[in-house]
Symmetry: C2
Subunit: 324 residues, 2 copies
């Protein structure tokens, strides 16, 4: 499929999802007032809508043809994602998200905790039309997000974080929701459990690649067109390039890297990048992105060719080439 | 029904609920590790289990006889209740709950935000076996808790808080979950919507009375056997006795009361009580407790007499006479 056609088709899906999220918030504002308004503002402030897009496309590829049957699940994953962002932003003390002030910097921490809860609840409320197994996939995914976040908190500035620790955190926090969205969509389309599990793995691989690219953007991103750099390092988050470089470098360079990570400020950014280059850590992360995307693609292979499948492959290529 | 028999029967139900909550947490600890452990500790630290008990008894009174069909809903309401306590304790900066350190004072605020999320998610996960309408009742209840908490935050130390504002907050935050638990239980027992709605109102009246007693305990409770006094006043929460006294008193007494509420400390407690007595505000609150419990009782009248109904009436009398 041509890239510009794919972009147009994805944009159409994004428009549908956004329109439905907007009507949901409009409805809820009338009932729940300010909490719906401020939570809705974060939800509607933009975002790539990747989780609902994956949900929607997997459902179509799996033979589903009733958009009303899948939209609530697609929206649920975006609501839950936004809920975790609101609570993460409190925990990371972040003041900006998607180019706008974070909820807690607008309305204070107390309301932001409650606002995040409200978004979670809306997500699960939308899950009510699905059967027990689909709800279990959603709930298990959310519980894993929480356990991965605990682990991430414990690994802040932990220079002994292993690639296995890293992968466990990423699988729970970032990739798990993609996996659950894809599996849930397959279940709603009535695929059997072998096939749903394959789509779970597809989502997982796609999500791992997504996080790896996120890690890379934090060190090599172009700030003019994308997200600001160095935020993860400031927050003491052990991203894969750092973990890899800490493993590879030794002697003075390793000591220097430790000292940069532990006392990071902007003036040390250039030297940090040099050390990551010396360790081959950026290159290593890029190779891993490709590996995970390739595996993601393999899970799609046995499904019949169709637009939805081509679009999922296109989403994978977007994940690799994204700059924000 | 004799009080001691009723107490024994309620204790039996509490034991069943506690045992099921314990096995749930044991199971989840194996999967989710620390987040399940610390959240489980709060859940299992005690508590009256009033919401699950009401859920269970309403289901029985409504003719339900399959305990496995109602236990997940009963537990869900306790999990959701505990989730809100964890987040409330952060917002109120409380260090003790149910005689033990609060989650955030044990593991820090970041983990406590996530721990509360985990409890919410577990609650909704248990809701997966129910149909869309029951899930809607749960989700609507939780969303209302959030909007009521927003309102409560806005009314901290707001001396112009009206009884109507107060009632709206109480209905959303405290009484709503009792109402939703009772309605949900009725729906699971296949009652029609007229009857389920009556049980919703039963739960609402019971819950309002419960909160009014809570307000009273904050000013007239016996600390030796129950909860510490004055906490609500310290936190700037506008409880009904305060709202009533602010309405009734005038001149110097009103000014004095304003000053006590706005700059509260322990030394002013005795004078606060005197002013509430002068305003007749404690007596007024006690009358309201009786009125709401009487209305709760009326909603039960048309159901056939049975043990579950007698026990619900007994629960209402316990709400009135509780000291913690």
């Amino acid at each position: 499929m041509e890239a510009d056609i794919a972009m147009d088709m994805l944009e159409e899906i994004r428009v549908i999802i956004n329109a439905n999220l907007e009507s949901l918030i409009e409805e809820q504002k009338a009932i729940f007032g300010e909490v719906a308004e401020v939570s809705g503002n974060v939800l509607l402030a933009g975002g790539k809508r990747l989780r609902p897009i994956v949900t929607y496309l997997v459902y179509q590829m799996a033979g589903g043809d009733d958009i009303d049957a899948i939209l609530p699940l697609a929206m649920a994953f975006e609501l839950i994602h936004t809920a975790t962002l609101v609570h993460d932003d409190i925990n990371d003390n972040s003041s900006v998200r998607r180019g706008k002030p974070t909820m807690h910097s607008m309305v204070g921490q107390s309301k932001a905790i409650i606002g995040g809860d409200w978004l979670f609840v809306q997500g699960f409320g939308l899950g009510g039309i699905y059967n027990e197994d689909v709800v279990k996939v959603m709930a298990n995914c959310c519980a894993k997000i929480a356990s991965a976040e605990f682990m991430q908190i414990d690994h802040v500035l932990n220079l002994a974080t292993s690639p296995e620790d890293y992968l466990e955190i990423v699988k729970g926090k970032t990739a798990g929701p993609f996996a659950a969205a894809a599996k849930g969509a397959a279940m709603v389309a009535d695929l059997d459990s072998t096939e749903s599990d394959k789509l779970f793995e597809f989502g997982m691989e796609l999500g791992i690649a997504f996080q790896l690219v996120d890690d890379l953007l934090d060190v090599v991103g172009d700030e003019r067109i994308g997200k600001p750099r160095g935020i993860d390092v400031y927050e003491g988050k052990m991203t894969l390039p750092l973990i890899h470089a800490l493993t590879i470098l030794h002697g003075d360079e390793r000591e220097e890297l430790e000292s940069i990570i532990t006392n990071f400020d902007d003036s040390k950014f250039e030297r940090l990048i040099q050390l990551l280059e010396i360790g081959g850590s950026i290159n290593y992360s890029e190779i891993l992105v490709n590996n995970h995307l390739e595996r993601a693609s393999q899970y799609l292979e046995e499904f019949d060719d169709c637009d939805a499948k081509s679009l999922l492959q296109f989403v994978a290529s977007m994940v690799k080439n994204r700059n924000s």
